[in-house]
Symmetry: C5
Subunit: 355 residues, 5 copies
């Protein structure tokens, strides 16, 4: 995989700057376009067969959400981008999935890049880039693959009397961002659980060989999440401050609510960060405690039996004249002495709290 990524960049830089290159690793077989066209009175949900069918919505009065999955279909992305007057650099950004979350404000549209985070079935964190374009009466969303966090919004759009139907495209953008940010809470919570699991393992002293690698991976996950979440604060701030015509003044309060959530998430992530960093220290003390225990066993065994063996060695000597050897009860007295030494040692280690 390492090699592949290197190649990706190498290929990329052969291109002219601003050229459109798909840099993700999940190409889809076919482009998937799905639209919601709605007003308070009606809602139409259509799956389109070609990008050209999405052209009409640009100037219609009803509000339209065009969701496009499959960033590897570069020509189609470019066609629709051009039709909606997106700057070539924007189109390049949509296809380049290694973007940092950011906002670009143009006169007639606002471009937002965000990251969708989720844990896959192996508890590995996955990051998918999503680009959102807010124009007059429409929102375009570009995703790498199918499957997203917007099902709840789709259902609310289908309901006749939902608030979302009565409000503009700026509220739709808010709802989409809010859905993404809400999903971060699940991710940070899963992360929190993983940290607590490791804490418990360390506390119980079950040292596994791959523990330091697990901690390292947690560190990386925390850093990835930080990287996805932190820039959003700036994005929302700029929406608030810009007073762009496309954002209704009443909707701004909703964006501010996202801001509060993101600050809260940032706080949590920072606390997780501290916790993960502490895990390594905790791991180190656990190892040292284990070693202490090992050393104690060795020291106790050696301290008790080495002197006794020495005494046995003494009376194994072959000197002609060792008077003790010839007394009748010498052997039994010696056993007594040895038992006393043995018990004395036990008592000594007991008092030292080593036993």
């Amino acid at each position: 995989m390492t090699k592949k990524r290197t190649n990706k960049y190498k290929k990329h830089i052969k291109q002219s700057p601003g050229s459109i290159v798909y840099t993700g690793e999940n190409p889809t077989e076919k482009l998937f376009i799905n639209t919601f066209d709605y007003s308070p009175e009606f809602v139409t949900e259509v799956e389109l067969n070609s990008v050209e069918e999405a052209y009409n919505f640009k100037d219609s009065e009803s509000i339209t959400w065009i969701n496009i999955n499959g960033l590897n279909h570069i020509q189609d992305i470019e066609k629709i981008g051009n039709h909606y007057n997106l700057h070539p650099l924007i189109i390049a950004d949509i296809a380049n999935t290694s973007q940092r979350p950011k906002i670009d404000v143009y006169d007639d549209y606002i471009f937002v890049v965000l990251k969708m985070l989720y844990y896959d079935e192996n508890e590995v964190i996955k990051i998918e880039q999503i680009s959102l374009v807010l124009g007059r009466n429409y929102v375009l969303t570009f995703q790498e693959v199918e499957g997203d966090v917007f099902d709840n919004i789709r259902e609310r759009l289908r309901i006749a009397n939902g608030r979302i139907r009565t409000l503009g495209a700026d509220y739709l953008l808010y709802a989409l961002i809010d859905a993404i940010v809400d999903h971060y809470f699940i991710v940070t919570e899963t992360m929190g659980n993983k940290i607590e699991d490791l804490e418990e393992i360390l506390f119980n002293g079950h040292i596994q060989d791959d523990l330091s690698l697990q901690v390292l991976n947690l560190k990386k996950e925390v850093l990835k999440i930080r990287r996805a979440i932190f820039p959003i604060r700036e994005i929302i701030s700029r929406i608030e401050k810009n007073q762009h015509d496309l954002i209704n003044e009443n909707t701004i309060q909703y964006y501010r609510d996202i801001y509060d959530h993101v600050v809260q998430l940032s706080d949590s992530v920072d606390i997780y960060r501290e916790m993960v960093w502490s895990l390594m220290d905790m791991y180190m003390t656990t190892i040292s405690n284990k070693m202490n225990e090992v050393m104690k066993v060795l020291t106790i065994m050696a301290s008790i039996f080495i002197p006794l063996t020495f005494i046995a060695g003494i009376y194994g000597m072959n000197f002609d004249n060792i008077p003790e050897l010839h007394y009748k009860y010498s052997y039994f007295i010696l056993w007594g002495v040895m038992i006393i030494i043995f018990l004395g040692m036990l008592y000594y280690f007991k008092r030292k709290k080593w036993l």
Copy 2:
């Protein structure tokens, strides 16, 4: 518990954004509403049976403090919120107990979220969210469960000639925040004592198996307290700078006094933080010192008896021709040599300060 929290968020994100969901874990059986209606001349303290009874206070000239406990009674919260013209997002924030401390300034009311901190009987830190709304002539407070830090304020309200009775709702809000912040001092002090206790345990070298877990838990507590206290500085700053009609100019000095307290608390918390982080280092050195001690015992025992055992082994050999074996005093001379070696070793270790 871990599972439950995940479910909580999962349920939450199924909702439309801004929908009112109680996210706490302490539902109460019934809503508890308690009001103080007062002016310099009179004070009325009533426990209400329904939220509707709290409607009249909105436009009365006397100052009213309406305290509501039981955030799980969402419909009631919503009713009273609507009556007092609170923005739907504010009502949602009141019910969502995982808010960060914050202030939202609206034209006709100021909304403040704070955290009440206290140690429960198991010395585990508890965090309870409290939302305060300052309107013209009234303050609403929303708490999760009964029991708070305001008893002192209640008593002062009941006294006829208390200063608090002569001042406006802005002073009441100040008094409530001040009571919460004052309580933080007890919390930080308890924390300080816990840290000192651990220091003493480590100093005395009583290594307990769960020490690293205790330190980790202290770290978490410090981070939680920080998270509750630090945002208050910004809250007070915004009250000071905003020059809102609802805050009398003379009362601002009192808010500034809270600010000083919060800065002082922040300083303390940061010092505790440093101390807790140092505890882990101290723990590590304690373990290493212990191991050193263990190793010394082993080394002294082994170094003394291994050479002696070797000598005994020599004269246990069965060679036909070992002249020493046949001298009359060989055995006693050997004992002399052994005792000299023994004492020499002792002296050597004494000089190395290992004994």
Copy 3:
């Protein structure tokens, strides 16, 4: 002591906010008031018997320094505070000795809280709070107990032609703050010496059992000093920027000089901080080096004598047929072999630089 502090806060929060409570731990038996009333022409130094005697100085044209020791005499503090028109919160701050250094600027006076630092005879750092009030033609100072760093200023006031006599109350305030700040240099220097002493102990490898506690205490001292010194920068900045009528433009240069000193002190404290934090690392490596040494002794002893003992064991066996036992010089040859093994081992460890 720990319990007592808890009680202190608990008692405090029972009070109404802004109520005057002495929170220090050094009550004095009687209030001590000492005044210097001076102009270029004269100086009068009087010890007053009651606070009422200090009332006249408020409107006199001569400059007066009223020094009050004994913050536990709350009624007296309150009386004089009221006479000099101090805001109730200011009077409460004077009595509350756990204030952070700060400045409060009012229209007709400036209130400054500072900390006097000194090491007591046990080399334990002591912190005493001092409150200074600069009014038109007078300076009030409030201290907890007798004994301060102002003797030098008193002597200069007594001298007829001293510059201090020709300048206003703002210069007196400067001189007082300067005396406090100058004293910090002694404190930081003592701290520096303590750190150097510990470094030397660690370098010489004299590991004492309480070393990690000593380092921890040093950490706390550094943090306490930081806490006392750092806020002063902001205090002086505010004096400079405020352009208050009470501060003469020419005196500001003198305050700027204090600022330079405080920045210099802050730098020193930050360096001490780094040094103290490093001490713990140094301590850890010292312990590990010691352990290495212990292990080497053990390993050398064991590696030399275990093989030799094995050989002796061989020829202690009682097999009927061990040819070597019967050769005449076997015993002496064996000694030769053992000595060669012994020397070979010594050489090996020498080459490994373990000896």
Copy 4:
């Protein structure tokens, strides 16, 4: 090498300030000048023999890129610098290869210093300084040696209908900076791979002796890359904000794109930084785990055989009266006892999870 660098500085400071000294370590034999002169209609690519031939381009209407390799040819650099009105300090900066990335904005040109980064064949990071001067209709680039990251731009210039041919010198400057920044991605990626390789080595527990040195070198590389990349953010910011006549308003969007890339790179570098710092911790735990394993082997061997040897010693004693010696099956019973002790020990260590 160390000596040489010292000499370099020593020589340098003998000079008057602002004097032009080549401080690099890669002198080239001859100056290499290469020009691209182009307009939408034509492109001329010439290799010049002397700097004087580069004089004419200054006032021509076509756009010219003059690339000069060989900073040790100081007189030539000075001549061309003077002809293009560069400030003497700028010319000195061009020759001094230890510059930090920076921008200097003058009235009639913009001067940018950047660092080209690449890994050489030994995976050692190399840093080459490149100076870029944007004037009206021309861009000058000064490099230390031949070989750069601009081949792609050259090819695009040679193509008749490339966008780059239709745009001004400001776009050329953008394209050059973009090429440099794009190359950083390869560098950071290689660095990421190196970190992952080390992680894997540590995870597999293959402790090599030079591992801490490898980690240290990685730290240095991360710091060098940071130093090259971070200042670029400020450079681009200043281009954006300055609204210099030389930069067309439409081109600014392209510079903003570089800014996004640099922020992304900075993020990556910071994450690598954290990772490299963690490697040292991981290394430490790996060593400690290894030691634990060693200690366990020792403890198990010693704990099993020391007691058995003691028992053998007992029955090697020469007392006249040791009854057990004379029973017929004593020897075999003893073997039984020993085997039981042996198995008991094994079971004990098994239960402790040491085996």
Copy 5:
């Protein structure tokens, strides 16, 4: 030395604030005054015998550099300071050698304090304070002792057609500061070499007992250099922004060049800082690696010979009935068994990569 410094401060605080006290430790026997008086047409270099001779230069049209060595001659310093209208606090700052680098801008002169850094012959870093005063047509420099970094400037002043002769006193000040800053490069480079030397020692595993002290001293040196270099950025910024009459607009570009150098130095110092901090970690892993090696030797020796000794012990027992003792080849078979065990152990440790 420690005592002496304490005394120094104690003495100091006995003085009135702003009193002039020499706080350095290098008093010179006599005051040394050296002047360069120059214009484009002439240069006069004189060594003065008394401070009074330096009075005339104040109002002459030619530019004068008056260099004064010997800060302990306080009266002379005061005389010349007064003649050149320096504020009493400035004169006190000149004599107080523990100043932080700083700038004080007055109406008719600019006062700059800097630190000259150099390594003495014992590779100990030395810091000497230098004060510079820029007035109209003159620059005063005050140094503690003879010997400085300005010889190069002196030579350039002596040359008839040097640029320095044609420019004003502001350029002279620049040249002096530039000479000081240029010298920092030598210091940081020496520091870099010292760090690399230690890295190499650690890499080769030559653990010396004073290594942690060496690292600690390096830390202190880094912090001292930081303290000398970092404030210069602010000094230059204030010169740039102040637009003081004494600084010609064209000269500002030169000051900006110093700024670039100082930023570059700051970057280097910060990298050294990281490196020195890493050295301690590296030291720790080196110690641990050593210990691992020691433990392995012990474990291998013990694991091989303890079982063998046990076997020898068995056949040294004196049971009447040990059948093996009486077979003819028992002894040789036993040797075979022992050699097999020995080789088996070697193979086991080989496979574990311990050999």
